[in-house]
Amino acid sequence: MKKKGLYLLLLPGVLFLTLFMVIPIVLTIASTFYQEGSFTLQGYFQFLTDKYFMKILLTTLQVSIVTTIACILLGFPAAYYISKLGPRKKGILLALAIFPLLTSSVVRSFSWMIILGKKGLLNSSLLSMGLIDKPLEILYTPTAMMIGLIHLFLPLIIITLVGVMENIDPDLIKAAESLGASKFTAFRKVIVPLSVPGLIIGSILVFVGSLTAYTTPALLGGKQRVISTFLYQNAITLNDWYMASVIATIMIVITFVVIYVMNKLATKLNPKG
């Protein structure tokens, strides 16, 4: 077969994505610049000048950033531990790590509601131990969203990091130690920089995932809105498709900016990785 013919194999996929993804996205973005037949940036002005909108955007970014950082901090040591194990134990622990991804996010969020609620498991045990006087307000706050999102996305960062860490030659640690590095210094100066590629990919997945997550913030956030629940509210409840499109476009822009910044960061931290 001629090489040119091979490109035809791509056609069904490309066609599908063009029809059902590229065209709708382009139309959505284009529609935000036209209102009643003329070019306008009015929707963006409205969004960026409205304190309520901006607060939602900031909450979303805050939740996404904290979730990403928490996932990195929790996932990094766990991934390192798993990457050092033999194949059998590694398989078991990875399966356990992936487990949260296998349950529906609705079920998972309801479990968190039971745990975090005013009379939930957490509050009642803390109260009975006498550690607090009155129940903590966790459910229906950004904190609850973060807890739910961390639970959801921790596996992603662990899996990507284990993949990268497995391929780090264990002799590198030994080499660092023989040159005078303590185990911790060797970890910091060798393992951490060499894990940057996995860290970047994992962080992008977690950040974008948190930014666009709907179920978890909708159920655990209560009245507290994030950008995706706000988008839903505009489109479905308020039937304001124009504003919903503006919000969608802003989410897309944020996603691309984040990916761009992360990639820049990756090349800076790890020039030859």
Binding site: L172, L179, S182
Partner: protein, 353 residues
């Protein structure tokens, strides 16, 4: 006193002993290599010295101090890995500077010392390159520079040349020997390549099943192996198992069945328990003539196999004492089945355990 002593050391994995009651002394300034087949414990010994492994019991003394429990990063030993283990995210300069920076050496001093050591390994001008951009030989030289720049008290090599091609291996081993002698640094070198070990070492320790069977200078081992294992390992292919050994007129009499042999006294026959005789194929002679020679033992046989080796012929000669392999340079070869006289020079017979 020896610089380094392993005293009665044992190492075990899952109750399987890799080393048991192991002893080794190394003198200052020497290059000693540990040679042996895979699984003989040579790498374990090296990793034990480096501190990557802990001894189950026994002691490791270095320069009169007990190093048994000293962690790797406090030992100040340079280690060169088979895989080079260069840090892929760091440039050549930063790789070499790694150990110095950990020692909080002043940055201008770091620069000076890194330049100096890169010149020693002939890699001046490569500072900004990354490991990926170097050839195998260059990477290995960076690894050596990185281990040397910290001015280690001991330099350890773990099969450093086995990932290089044949020509480069020869160049690199000359280079390693030159650097080692230039800096006078005590070195332990592990390899399974005989020629490599023999060519660069002051002393060679041949290991088998977790013990050192012989520790001598290369020439002595090559001429006078102490055990059958070593003899076979370094190319002695002919063995005669004698039943009786007697001292006679400054020589050694050996007997098996009706066959009487005589071996001259030399370091190779000094072992009083040695009754097994080992000989290289190059040292035996084959002839069709009757020979009267006081310095030769004789045995009758017939040619079983004749192989052309280029410069010489190799014969397998069948005798009452088994088959013997002989290499001999000659114009016209003997034919298969031909009756021959096998000659064993008295002074080429080595008696091993």
């Amino acid at each position: 006193m020896a610089l380094l002593t392993l005293d009665n050391v044992s190492v075990a994995y899952d109750n399987q002993y890799i080393l048991k009651n192991f002893h080794l002394n190394i003198e200052k300034g020497q290059l000693i290599s540990l040679l042996g087949p895979s699984g003989c414990g040579k790498t374990t010994t090296l990793r034990l010295i480096a501190g990557f492994l802990e001894a189950k019991d026994g002691r490791f003394l270095f320069d009169g101090k007990d190093y048994t429990r000293v962690p790797v990063n406090k030992r100040n030993f340079g280690f060169v890995f088979q895989s080079y283990a260069l840090f892929p995210h760091l440039s050549v300069f930063d790789n070499v500077a790694f150990g110095l920076r950990l020692r909080k050496v002043d940055e201008t001093e770091v620069k000076k010392r890194v330049q100096q050591i890169l010149d020693v390994v002939s890699l001046g001008g490569f500072e900004k390159r990354f490991p990926k951009e170097l050839s195998g030989g260059q990477r290995q030289r960076v690894a050596i520079a990185r281990a040397l720049v910290i001015q280690p008290d001991l330099l350890l090599f773990d099969e450093p040349l086995s990932n290089l091609d044949a020509n480069l291996r020869i160049n690199m081993r000359v280079e390693i020997r030159r650097i080692q002698q230039e800096l006078g640094i005590t070195t332990v070198y592990v390899s399974h390549d005989q020629e490599e070990c023999f060519s660069i070492s002051d002393q060679v320790a041949i290991m088998n099943k977790g013990i050192i069977e012989q520790l001598d200078d290369p020439a002595t081992i090559f001429k006078y192996p102490k055990t059958e294992f070593i003899a076979r390992f370094i190319g002695f292919t002919n063995f005669i198992d004698f039943a009786e050994r007697t001292e006679q007129d400054g020589e050694i009499g050996l007997r098996v069945g009706d066959h009487h042999f005589v071996a001259s006294k030399n370091p190779g026959t000094a072992n009083p328990a040695g009754k097994k005789c080992a000989m290289r194929p190059d040292d035996l002679l084959v002839t069709t003539e009757e020979v009267v020679d006081q310095n030769m033992n004789q045995l009758k046989g017939s040619v079983k196999v004749s192989t052309f080796l280029g410069r010489s012929y190799q014969y397998v000669v069948e005798t009452e004492l088994g088959d013997f392999t002989v290499n001999q340079e000659m114009e016209t070869p003997y034919k298969t089945g031909q009756k021959v006289n096998l000659l064993f020079p008295k002074d080429k017979m080595v008696l091993v355990d």
